[in-house]
């Protein structure tokens, strides 16, 4: 996983899964990288082939953290399988999802 900052957005890239084990790493990475100026955390899902319910839980946890500081989470370019799961769980009502 890699992070970079563009304006008020923390962008996370280069991960292929969001599952029970690695979603904890994502949580830790965001917590460590999040600066006061960051209002948005953007997760680039273009390489993510698999996301389970624990991965979703981690996204919700990050979302709550950002809400407390007036920010939000944004998911970009999800692959069809991941997009299907997000819609199945109505996560499109929670997160901003940007498709290509």
């Amino acid at each position: 996983m890699k992070t970079r900052t563009e304006g008020d957005t923390l962008i996370v890239t280069d991960f292929t899964e969001l599952n029970t084990t690695n979603s904890m790493w994502l949580q830790d990475l965001v917590n460590q990288s999040l600066a006061p100026a960051h209002k948005v955390v953007e997760l680039d899902l273009s390489k993510v082939k698999f996301m389970d319910s624990n991965g979703i839980s981690t996204l919700i946890s990050i979302h709550k953290t950002l809400c407390k500081r007036g920010g939000k989470i944004r998911l970009t370019r999800p692959m069809p399988a991941v997009s299907h799961v997000l819609h199945l769980l109505s996560m499109n009502e929670v997160f901003e999802i940007i498709n290509p």
Partner: protein, 592 residues
């Protein structure tokens, strides 16, 4: 988890995979990757591969996260069956188990948990969760979709992905066991289905059924107790194998069956949770393991089925528990249907009986009462819902007078109506006795005693002979309501309420009273259905109520017919909307 997976095609063209894995979330993920690679060679389209990967991940995560302390020491098992039209995955866990909802609800947006089962149910065509004593089994099925055109995911199936390979022999054995189990269950169900329309004793039917169950689940004994239809819900009795009943007061703490009935859940017993000494089951099977399963029919508890093993300590497997539950559910429906048929037949018989009794009853009443010079006569009869044995009659003796009779046969339905008919026949058999009511009752009692005694029935009766010329009445009673005699401005006098009912004592001698009847006097013969009439407040009219109201009517100097009409109106007003529980009959004789 160790080594090598290779898809294996068995003789019936299916594929089978079996994996054992530790309670470790990393292994859970590895298992789902394994399944994906295995299914890719089936082949399946990408969307199905992803769905299975996700469902297996979620199921395996749950099996790992919720394993009991003892369960963590054991390996979970995942089996994949590729059939011609569907894929089935079974995951055997060692958790405490849970009651799977028909459709899991999506948790609130804020919740960070509880989406795994929802995902599985959303992606699968069918999900079952079979609960066992030491293990449970989630069964997930999904129809096979045709793969997308082109080559399936490039030869992934042949890749060594680190899973355990089941060889030909083991695979065949597992498949054979599965097929045998299914075949036994299904064939048993088909056999019993075909027996549905055959009239046979429910107990015999059920006993055969239970023997089949014992063989299929490798059990040694069973006890089935059915809830008595008319007893309270917690009273269990009517078991097939053992004469034993549990009172409603029995402590549920001491009986696994009552506990199963009251909690509406399976209750297990084994060496770690043995049957208590006070448990009725322990008197039959002291050391055993098994379960007590509540049996329902359309949501209503109809009994408890206890099944157990004596020969082994091994608890029933999840699949076997499922068979027990399925058989019990099916049995519940059969017993319920049998009872319904029986009740339906009984209801038809009862309706027919009441119809017969009602016809008999109506035929007993005289079409019109004989009239006498200087007297008016009128009668009233109202039948309650259950036909009783009330009747009144009058026998005129040319130029001498009329004998009035009123009677009430104890009981309802056909027997009461039959005895009323017999009584009436005897009444008409001795014209010579009509002027001697006391003597007549003595003869009636003597003649009817043996039949009444044998049937444990009796008849209350009152005979009143009216001599219009002499304006005199002779009254004799056999345990019947008194004759009421009154005139305007007076108060009702009770006459001749003495003597045993007919059929009580064989040699009873009945006496009679003689009274002169003055002008405007009203005589009322009645049955206890009149005085026992209740109003909406459950208050009975009673003899005093009747006397009070009768006097009010008589004071208005109504003739006999009008008196009957006014009394009938009074009774209906008193009764209100409440239905009468007994017939009402009365006869009014008025000296004009």
């Amino acid at each position: 988890m160790t080594d090598v997976v290779t898809p294996h095609a068995n003789q019936v063209g299916s594929h089978f995979l079996s994996l054992d894995f530790e309670c470790d979330l990393r292994e859970s993920r590895e298992v789902s990757r394994c399944v994906r690679k295995f299914l890719a060679a089936v082949p399946l389209p990408e969307s199905d591969l992803h769905a299975w990967e996700l469902m297996v991940t979620e199921a395996a995560n749950n099996a790992t996260e919720y394993a009991t302390e003892a369960g963590r020491q054991q390996r979970n098992r995942l089996e994949v069956f590729c059939r011609e039209r569907e894929i089935e995955v079974r995951l055997t866990d060692h958790t405490a188990g849970f009651d799977m909802p028909a459709q899991a609800r999506l948790p609130s947006i804020e919740s960070e948990k509880g989406r795994g089962l929802y995902l599985i149910q959303s992606l699968a065509d069918e999900v079952e969760y079979l609960r066992g004593r030491a293990e449970n089994c989630m069964v997930i099925r999904k129809k096979r979709s045709a793969p997308a055109a082109g080559v399936p995911e490039g030869g992934e199936a042949a890749v060594d992905v680190g899973c355990r390979f089941l060889g030909d022999e083991q695979t065949l054995q597992a498949m054979t066991e599965e097929l045998a189990s299914c075949y036994e269950s299904l064939s048993a169900i088909f056999r019993f289905s075909s027996a549905l329309n055959q009239l046979q004793p429910t107990e015999e039917f059920t006993a055969t059924w239970m023997q089949e169950l014992l063989a299929i689940v490798e059990a040694d004994w069973y006890v089935l107790r059915l809830v008595e239809l008319r007893l309270s819900k917690t009273s269990l009795s009517g078991n097939l194998d053992f004469a034993l009943s549990l009172s409603p007061e029995a402590s549920s703490a001491g009986s696994v069956e009552l506990r199963a009935a009251r909690t509406r859940q399976d209750v297990w017993f084994d060496a770690s949770a043995p049957l208590m000494l006070v448990d009725p089951l322990s008197h039959l099977v002291r050391h055993s393991n098994g379960l007590a399963h509540p049996v329902f029919a359309e949501g209503v508890l109809i009994g408890v089925l206890a099944v157990g093993r004596l020969s082994t300590d091994a608890p029933f497997k999840a699949g076997q528990v499922n068979v027990i539950q399925t058989f019990a559910d099916f049995l519940g429906l059969q017993v319920s249907n049998a009872r319904f048929r029986s009740e339906h037949l009984q209801a038809k018989l009862t309706a027919r009986e009441l119809e017969i009794a009602s016809t008999l009853q109506r035929s007993l009443l005289p079409e019109r009462l004989p009239q006498m010079p200087g007297f008016g006569v009128a009668g009233y009869y109202r039948s309650a819902r259950h036909v009783g044995g009330d009747l009144y009659d009058a026998i005129a003796v040319d130029g001498q007078g009329v004998l009035f009779a009123i009677a009430d046969v104890m009981g309802k339905g056909v027997p009461a109506a039959m005895f009323a008919t017999i009584f009436r026949s005897y009444l008409h058999a001795r014209i010579d006795l009509v002027k001697q009511p006391g003597e007549f009752l003595t003869w009636l009692n003597h003649s009817l005693f043996s039949d009444l005694d044998r049937m444990e029935m009796f008849i209350t009766a009152q005979l009143v002979f009216v001599d219009p010329a002499a304006r005199r009445v002779q009254v004799a009673g056999a345990g019947h309501c008194p004759l009421l005699m009154t005139a305007p401005g007076g108060s009702p006098v009770e006459v001749a309420n003495t003597g045993f009912p007919l059929g009580i004592m064989p040699d009873t001698k009945y006496t009679e009273e003689v009274h002169d009847v003055l002008r405007d006097t009203r005589l009322v013969l009645f049955t206890d259905g009149v005085t026992d009439l209740e109003n909406a407040g459950n208050e009975m009219l009673g003899i005093e109520g009747l006397k009070h109201n009768l006097q009010l009517i008589v004071n208005r100097r109504c003739n006999a017919e009008r008196t009957v009409q006014e009394m009938a109106a009074m009774l209906q007003q008193f009764q209100g909307k409440k239905s009468a529980s007994d017939d009402q009959a009365f006869v009014v004789i008025g000296c004009e």
